[in-house]
Symmetry: C2
Subunit: 332 residues, 2 copies
């Protein structure tokens, strides 16, 4: 798909910061792609970017309007459509991470077609994929995995890419979900792919590459999450990871969306992910932990991470508090 | 979807018996639902059913024309469309197991709408599914699993259902692929479901039931098949099987579609499927083997099955040669 940047981030009339979570991720990881934010009356979110009108953003070279905000009730307000039409008129494409599709808005779709602009509904894959083969490909791959959903796999992969690039390593973040795709400018929302083709979609996303090149692949869900584990397994098989980083949140009371199910033991998660990954890469292993300790004070967090590291003989980091350096040290 | 029977099985101009494989499965397992077969000029397949014209079949009460044959080059010949239109005129619905959709044929779709007939493209799920939860449901479930694709999982499940019913047990075959759906008259082609919803689709397919009721669930692929294992895992989690029967073909040189990959060891398959199944059913276990020994002579087959049974301390049967009685003995 290749979404053109620079971006103008549209926050609409977001009722709070959380509603603008997707835009927030883009601003955090690709600030230099963002000319600013566009907020409508009543918007309660703020990414700390300069507020820009469509005309100002266009004058500064913005090439894509990013709809990075949850809409209310699944509908696009008339005011949003007006903004989209004007962005198209000013020469921008539009990319959206919402479930609802921009391409289903007849007026917007017609205007884009007339003007030759692209509309990217990044949650909805538009190309067809081959069936996966599991054949080995050159290049190296790291996959962020986890004990649960929404536990920092995208953040971890992006932090690893950043640190690897800072050290001059040849690394690319590979996005498998909507926010990641807006951050990478490309990718596949794999949970929206027909199940038969998911491992093939991941093989497409992480193709043969130079021997020193790392794909740093955004993980999805967990092999032990009964709602989505099939997506995870296809991702593990398709990405044939050389190494995996296990993401975890120690204080979570239950698995996401499943109030009656405890977050599984981290050892069980390692066993499950290594066994699965070895189907397509016999050398695959978990090499470290990326832990979200935001609910713990600094001292409790340090104790927890040290104990985890000692228990498994692998680095355990909080990517926000101390960065991912100790994990990247192992990738040399 | 609930496909109405009796059926008339349409074989078209099938170039050989294999092209009519789907219809063959229906004729084998639901002969009493089939008023006959309809063959066009040049058809080389024969299911051993009486040849019937559309008019004859309609007169005998046929309610659905089953397109149970692979079409050449993915297109419906004009002669097929003529047959479909006439079937609709005579009061029949149409069900097809093909990739191409009957509902994409404008003339046929329009005629069906006009007459109020149903068109069932069973490979293409039309309803939406919830996200799976993994919550335990009453009722018992048996899942056919396997070391590879196309290794007898549907056959095994149907043979088990038949034997269980013959013994007065409360059992229903649950279909997860196109041929199974035409045989069951209902089901979900799970490999065509968007990956996020596959375990939920399986939970829908095998809902809460009476404590003595068995869902006998058609398996798909294998957890160790890198092309499709994500589908399998969602099926294992969604069906929360109490027991699994491992299907195998001992002489296969490589995994289906993967010339460079050997069929995995049966012990590894048991470990993988039991570990996965215990995520949603802690008591899940493999209780026996269903082996396709058609490539071996009787004596070699008996030796093989005895050794397999001795090695694992579980019954090992060829469902064609000796039936599945020893496995059903364990389900009392």
């Amino acid at each position: 798909m290749a979404i053109a940047n620079p971006y103008l981030l549209f926050l609409g009339d977001a009722p709070d910061q959380l509603a603008a979570k997707t835009a927030d991720g883009v601003a955090r990881w690709r600030r230099d792609w963002c000319v600013g934010q566009l907020r409508l009356d009543g918007c309660k979110a703020d990414l700390g970017l300069p507020d820009k009108s469509l005309e100002e953003a266009a004058a500064e070279g913005a090439r894509t309007l990013i709809i990075g905000v949850a809409n209310r009730g699944g509908r696009f307000a008339a005011s949003w459509q007006e903004t989209m039409l004007k962005a198209l008129d000013l020469g921008m494409d539009i990319a959206s991470g919402l479930h609802n599709k921009i391409t289903d808005l007849p007026t917007v779709a017609a205007r884009a077609k007339e003007l030759g602009r692209s509309l990217h509904d990044v949650r909805h894959p538009t190309r067809e994929f081959e069936i996966g083969t599991g054949d080995r490909r050159p290049g190296k791959r790291l996959l962020a995995v986890g004990t649960d959903c929404s536990i920092g796999k995208m953040f971890t992969a992006l932090a690893l890419e950043k640190e690897m690039r800072a050290r001059g390593m040849n690394a690319d973040f590979r996005a498998t979900g909507q926010t990641g795709i807006l951050i990478a400018g490309d990718g596949v929302s794999i949970d929206a792919v027909v199940s038969d083709f998911v491992s093939g979609a991941v093989e497409y996303l992480t193709p043969a590459n130079d021997p020193d090149h790392w794909d740093v692949v955004e993980g999805q869900a967990s092999l032990l999450h009964p709602s989505y584990a099939g997506v995870t397994l296809a991702l593990v098989h398709g990405s044939q990871p050389d190494v995996m980083v296990m993401c975890h949140e120690p204080t979570r009371p239950h698995m996401r969306g499943l109030p009656n199910r405890k977050v599984p033991d981290i050892q069980d998660c390692i066993v499950a992910h290594e066994a699965a990954a070895r189907v397509t890469n016999p050398d695959a292993k978990v090499i470290g932990f990326s832990v979200n300790t935001s609910a713990m004070d600094r001292s409790a967090a340090e104790t927890y991470l040290k104990e985890l590291s000692d228990r498994f003989g692998m680095p355990a980091v909080d990517p926000v508090r101390m960065g991912v350096g100790p994990i990247v040290d192992l990738l040399g």
